[in-house]
Symmetry: C2
Subunit: 191 residues, 2 copies
């Protein structure tokens, strides 16, 4: 196995462990066991579990599926936004709400513990908000959305509202918080 393959396997294993479990409850050994690589190899690729955490947050920012859905030129902007939220909700529901979102989980658990991860979360918030704002601005320009609030403010509100809805969805093990979020987002904000 090449050096870069091992690195990718560690990242994939880290993602798998960390969407289901607390960062502080997952050890390097859990991650290398999941990756099927020797524990010692971890430190050839990452200085610390914290460094892996920051890399995982950066990967979330580069999510190609999200960007493809949000920029699909064949779909009207409001429908792209709807598909984006529906797709992520479906993933949480498919996992029976055992999975969380790296953005929300790490923000709650690590904002006050790791400056490195907090900075990577800042970049992820900015990036995701920007991707959403571009689509909202398009909907405002083509008249689908009459709400004149700055697109970047609507985008940030929606992303924050979604992360909050996800917290409750995981506790209630129910998609109701998502449904309520969608109703407000598309019925009272994006109007």
């Amino acid at each position: 196995m090449s050096r870069s393959d091992t690195r990718e396997q560690i990242i994939a294993a880290g993602m798998k462990c960390l969407v289901e479990k607390s960062f502080n409850a997952v050890g390097v050994q859990d991650i290398t066991d999941t990756a099927g690589v020797p524990k010692g190899s971890f430190y050839n690729h990452f200085e610390s579990k914290e460094a892996l955490g920051a890399e995982i947050v950066a990967r979330y920012g580069d999510n190609e599926t999200r960007r493809e859905i949000l920029t699909d030129p064949n779909v009207p902007p409001l429908q792209r936004l709807r598909r984006h939220f529906e797709r992520i909700s479906a993933r949480f529901e498919d996992s029976h709400f055992t999975r969380g979102c790296i953005l929300g989980n790490f923000s709650a658990e690590l904002a006050n513990q790791s400056a490195l991860i907090r900075e990577s979360l800042q970049r992820l918030y900015a990036l995701w908000t920007k991707d959403l704002a571009a689509v909202i601005a398009e909907a405002q320009e083509n008249g689908a959305v009459a709400n004149k609030t700055k697109a970047s403010d609507i985008a940030a509100l929606l992303l924050d509202g979604y992360e909050g809805a996800l917290l409750r969805a995981r506790v209630e093990r129910s998609r109701k918080p998502f449904d309520r979020f969608m109703k407000f987002a598309f019925g009272q904000i994006l109007v």
Copy 2:
């Protein structure tokens, strides 16, 4: 020190540790050190750290200051809601965003780890939402809010949106997410 004093000191110390640090990063020893009681005494009062966590969530539900603000008969309902959110935002800001909310933190970190804590979080969500919904219903009845959406749905949306805003506020170490939340809550939802 009486038995119940020790128990209260452990709960207070647990709250102090757990609003700033991850549940999985805080040990029983950290809590008893903060409380100034011997480690062994912890288990005279709680079966486990998990049981203490559930008790702390239950205490959050009983928060008297929140209820006093939300039910103050001398203040119009919309202003009570505003004061409620402003008060909790001020506490986070005063801590320079090092404090989190037990509801949001535990939901993110423990929903998938502890059934006991998840159940206590379900009760806290229900209780807090009910307290908010009562004030919103009052504002709908007296005509201050024309929005005909069910008060309990508006309440749940606002609580979730606030918890999401708090996640970002802690990462950005800024009150901007709170200001944005308030602008939408009072400018586009509670209208």
